[in-house]
Symmetry: D2
Subunit: 442 residues, 4 copies
Amino acid sequence: MEDGLKIAIIGAGSGYTPEIVEGFIKTYNQMPVDELWFVDIEAGKEKLEAVAALSKRIIKKSQKPMQIISTFDRRKALEGADFVLTQFRVGQLTAREKDENIPLNYDTIGQETNGPGELFKAFRTIPVMIDIADEMAELCPDAWLVNFANPAGMLSEAVLNHTSWKRMVSICNGPLLIKQRIAAALEVDIERLFVEIVGLNHLVFAKQILLDGKDVTNKVVRMVAEGVKRVDNPGVSDWDADFLVGLNMIPMSYLEYYWKSSEVLEHEKEAAANEGSRAVVAKRLEKELFETYRDETLSETPEILKNRGGSGYSEAACGLIYSLYNDQQDIQTVNVQNNGAIENLPDEAVVEVNCVITNNGPIPLTTGKLPSAINGIIQAMKAYEQVACEAAVTGNYQRAMVAMTINPLVSGDKEAKAMLDELLLAHEEFLPQFDLQHLKED
Amino acid sequence: MEDGLKIAIIGAGSGYTPEIVEGFIKTYNQMPVDELWFVDIEAGKEKLEAVAALSKRIIKKSQKPMQIISTFDRRKALEGADFVLTQFRVGQLTAREKDENIPLNYDTIGQETNGPGELFKAFRTIPVMIDIADEMAELCPDAWLVNFANPAGMLSEAVLNHTSWKRMVSICNGPLLIKQRIAAALEVDIERLFVEIVGLNHLVFAKQILLDGKDVTNKVVRMVAEGVKRVDNPGVSDWDADFLVGLNMIPMSYLEYYWKSSEVLEHEKEAAANEGSRAVVAKRLEKELFETYRDETLSETPEILKNRGGSGYSEAACGLIYSLYNDQQDIQTVNVQNNGAIENLPDEAVVEVNCVITNNGPIPLTTGKLPSAINGIIQAMKAYEQVACEAAVTGNYQRAMVAMTINPLVSGDKEAKAMLDELLLAHEEFLPQFDLQHLKED
Amino acid sequence: MEDGLKIAIIGAGSGYTPEIVEGFIKTYNQMPVDELWFVDIEAGKEKLEAVAALSKRIIKKSQKPMQIISTFDRRKALEGADFVLTQFRVGQLTAREKDENIPLNYDTIGQETNGPGELFKAFRTIPVMIDIADEMAELCPDAWLVNFANPAGMLSEAVLNHTSWKRMVSICNGPLLIKQRIAAALEVDIERLFVEIVGLNHLVFAKQILLDGKDVTNKVVRMVAEGVKRVDNPGVSDWDADFLVGLNMIPMSYLEYYWKSSEVLEHEKEAAANEGSRAVVAKRLEKELFETYRDETLSETPEILKNRGGSGYSEAACGLIYSLYNDQQDIQTVNVQNNGAIENLPDEAVVEVNCVITNNGPIPLTTGKLPSAINGIIQAMKAYEQVACEAAVTGNYQRAMVAMTINPLVSGDKEAKAMLDELLLAHEEFLPQFDLQHLKED
Amino acid sequence: MEDGLKIAIIGAGSGYTPEIVEGFIKTYNQMPVDELWFVDIEAGKEKLEAVAALSKRIIKKSQKPMQIISTFDRRKALEGADFVLTQFRVGQLTAREKDENIPLNYDTIGQETNGPGELFKAFRTIPVMIDIADEMAELCPDAWLVNFANPAGMLSEAVLNHTSWKRMVSICNGPLLIKQRIAAALEVDIERLFVEIVGLNHLVFAKQILLDGKDVTNKVVRMVAEGVKRVDNPGVSDWDADFLVGLNMIPMSYLEYYWKSSEVLEHEKEAAANEGSRAVVAKRLEKELFETYRDETLSETPEILKNRGGSGYSEAACGLIYSLYNDQQDIQTVNVQNNGAIENLPDEAVVEVNCVITNNGPIPLTTGKLPSAINGIIQAMKAYEQVACEAAVTGNYQRAMVAMTINPLVSGDKEAKAMLDELLLAHEEFLPQFDLQHLKED
């Protein structure tokens, strides 16, 4: 790696890409990224061009010798790459719209990283991710696959357990946000905190919070319970104070899908009736964003990007790549195979925990056994993910039906069957692994 | 144990007691039960008298030298007992009615062995069961506590993990019914079957079915999926065929509370509107039953008893006591501490699995790791049970709130709080461990 | 299995075979063995003929319709067999003599089921046993392989973990002998005892002893410690009383190889100088035995057989086959994959523990965690066995060197190297998996 | 901790103490140690004074405002301390001499950190260490106990599992030496290496060696096997090359006690006959060292200290304290409770593994399952340690006998008994927990 690095970004047409470019510029002296290969599919050509153009302007302004190469040829981009970033969205926002709307028709939460919506996002994305892993084994076997496409945890679960590829780390901005907010709540510098994060992607808990080595978990929990401070994404409503004190941990906001199901469903229904689903809102925001990007005088990421909800993603991703490259041996919260970190889960299961980031990959820190209060939901979701990944890889209809039914957000086998069939047909073009003949004959 | 056995039955006023008496008569020559102590509380005096009178007539007819002693003094009954049977119901059917009705008002399943209803049945019963265990340690330390009061699994979980008493086995008729129905479906003698039962009380699965040593799991699953046969209690509706084939196991019917939640809720609401809750129906049946019992010409259990839904309970209980007494070393499915039987669960957790019944207690058979498809719900429920037992023992309000919220049948922390508070106040007289002052001040 | 059973015995020329024939005669009415195929290699022709002739006379006297077919064609014998018994000895007693003598030259215990001698018995036998397993998969896939060739535990370890064959049970007379002697010591009927046996083949402990369900472990341990009774094979000397009381379990006599190493070594050296090694003694006994067998008036097993040290083997083997065939669901101590029975050991590791014997094979009973006092030696031996099996299967010289060095009876890497090389060359004809070229060039 | 730190050193009369003082001077600006309390027993008065005088001269030269207070009153030293360092030796070198010589008389390795010698060092030291832990709980509950007295691993095992004190870290120079030597062998800066260290104190392995993130384990193993380089303390002889390649890990030199037992024993016997045991040599070296110390012109640690074999201890200890104080979050190899780091060992067992050092203590990194080749010896030693600690704490003679017998270096129960009794009597004054009456009556 003496020379500059070659980095491939799959799904580079994403509006977040310029942020990543800025991230690499910032650390150029410690990590000389010389070639940035922007990969996307032809359907995303227009967005890819806009992003590439803006990125070039940003680089030019920075005066770093970084080069951007846009391509539809993934193999060319992967060849000899040092890092491969994946942030693509199979079926784009249109598919997301279906993931969100169809479940709602069955009185079920429609969301792209939870419930039936997530299941289908996984069904569409896993086969592509496995192809990329296979290609990397051939074209850049020493590279790291840094994924922040969703469902991030399941994508790692599928690749790490259904292929021989091991150099993959999925990352989410959630843990970083929790830490930042706890620091803000305590009004201390984040460096003084050590937060023990345990769980699965989109299902983590701040189990223990240390400030200068002293346990302040109780204190933070009470601050939040008493409504003095918020330490997570604002969700539909605050956690019940007694519940939170009984838990004595800070759950990330996505737990509301499980522990505030009825409220979330109500909220989604209202939103769908008014502003449209999240996908519709996202489409609108994206449209505005790309209009800004096309402004040829723009040579930095615009303010508007911050409002899209992916805040911290680029920061987390660049930080991870930096530490992998430089053997930083700092602690970051990423998705890796468990290997004993959470004792209640099997070794091979992908978990989101604190890891030391070395140049040979992340090494999870031990966290012992999960407390009962959170063990139930974590086990339930991991078991679901395992069945879901198996169905995604094999295209087995009956196993897909099991995955759908055992998902805690689904209210019964009948609803599961109806949603499964409707979503399979709706996303058919992205689901080559499933044989849908029997659904069409009926 | 050379002389005849002394057996104490706590909650002897139950309508099922005469069946147990008949069971002991049947095996008198192999297990000479000489003294049957019938224990109940004063509020149950009338029923206790009716049951004792009928039981005496049954014994007289049998010509066995068995003696029945009715008493309100539990300690006297326990002193020197060989077996203690517990089948009491704290708060009787009136409390059950509240367990069933209050959750329904919050669009939540109301049931005495699942959801909020079960939680409160546990809160009321665990302190009493712990008292009994403590008294046994003092008054009959070599006796076995054979429990079939509900929630049977949680009562064992609480006693075995929160006291030093270890000689307790809880038993449910569910596993026996599954085996009987599989045998009926295959049209074979039950002796030719070996059914691997795994899970928790009210949450078991027939994971593997062997007929003469050959694996017929697939065959049975397909018979059920195709609707040829039923192998479980009739529930609200048949399992979806694809789901069942994907699962490749037979779930007991109570799984419908989790995998047919919406249907069950609808069904309960309708039933409540028409015939009343299960408790109301049970009250009516009980009234009829005791009218029959008072007929002084009756000297056997009447037909009507069969319709009450507890079929097989007495058979299971007597069979267990018989094997414990005679070191039968046969295989029965009972609730014991896991000790490695289900590898995914901790050693101390109470599970419902196949055991060899020796005169030193049941020894669980190994079952290996749970398949993912059922591991999720089993883990979720065991984790919930652990928190619930802790709350029941300590009377900690916040932990009770955690238990209620993480129960898979509860749809959010707000509903949890409302149900918790309403049920605490409704059952106050039976919940001395909780301090409810703050609920009254509001 | 409606018709009579076909049983193949590999290594049928063994002197013990007539005992097995007698065993099958005894249970003929419950298990109709019609064809007994006696398989051996041509080098063993003479012994095979003698055994077959005696066996035929025994059968004739019994008037059972059993047929004996002797053959050198193993495949013919396996075809359609219901049970396959293996009791062969690769290299016969001459190889055993080397296993015993060569280590002695390096001041190391020389023994066929412990130390370097066992390692080479494993190296010679495992490839043959794997061939048999492969042939069974082809020729009699529903049959059970019941092995009592040594090293029994390692042969199961190798077959069950290095082939896809799962229908194998290895059995040793050790556990049965322990139970019989404890019963004798207590002067009670063996049926009244429940002995919890845990460990590995040739390395088991009676961890808990129940008499009529009461724990009498302490009592038995003290009887043995005080020299009142012996409950195991007489070894070189009694266990130190304080050691035994501190252990509070009964170790089988082979533990003396590890906990009386110096004494055993002294004893072996003396014996070798006087009467010769065990192999030499066994050869002499075998010669006498076969002279008896050739007496054409003999139609039962002679007294002299009892003195050979394999007492109880046939009883154990026939008892196992009987229970497998008849789904007896009784408890026997056999070698099976752990599957959680001993929590400290991995699932796939072969252990010797109490199992319920069903017609689908043995199901281990849970035993929880091993006490520290015995966990060390059991772990050390299992780890050694795993490396040894790997070396036996792959023929990897360096891994063989690791196995030899980490064996607790070997005193250093230098001695390990010298013994390894000398034994490899001495047994070369039976070790096709190893490339010994480099040893010859030196 | 705003003000300067108070550090107590128990056993401050050790010749190594001045090195530690130098260590604290070096990092004074990042960790202001203002008070160093030197604690020893009256018998060590002379040495304590010499060490204190030299330390004061060293500090004076450094011009740091550090103060040294010598005392025999341990409680005064502990009161309000920030760190407590333990490096005492109960019974001093005279006791060590017995630990080394008595076993030799029984043809058993005599060594202070292995075999019977270590067992008695543990028996003498554990009660004192437990007293210190109890006093810290009372007098300085927020302090860390940093131990480098031996047997370091067992002392942590005893304190962490037999008291409620959790703030203890034991440290050994072994892991650091291995890393330094691997770096030297590869001729690279140690910063470029990541060495996965696993095992127990004095029983660790370099399981994986990464250079700039690339796995070079194979390469290093072959370099060592081929004799090109040494990467551990020179022991009695090099590891057999085939053994090492088969192992594919680097064992620390103390493994020679188990895998070169006969050679080590020979070597010890010779040494005892010539130069005397290690204790005798150490006494001589110590005498020379203290003569140097008394030279009042000396104001730095003399060259001669390097030859004593404790090289790196002070470096390791100061480094650990530095990281604990400054929340350095770097990786160091220390003795902590396992908590899942090595999956084959129980949670509570003390292991020596890589940890992230935070200001709330070390957090172990996951290492997964131990390879079979080293799992055996590690399990055997941990099981032995558990029994030994129990005997040390309870003074139970029979459990002491079990510990002695199951130690892999002891050749049988008879030798165990003889050594146990002789050592108990020899060390009687330091073993108040044992009742030796029965040994004197004989």
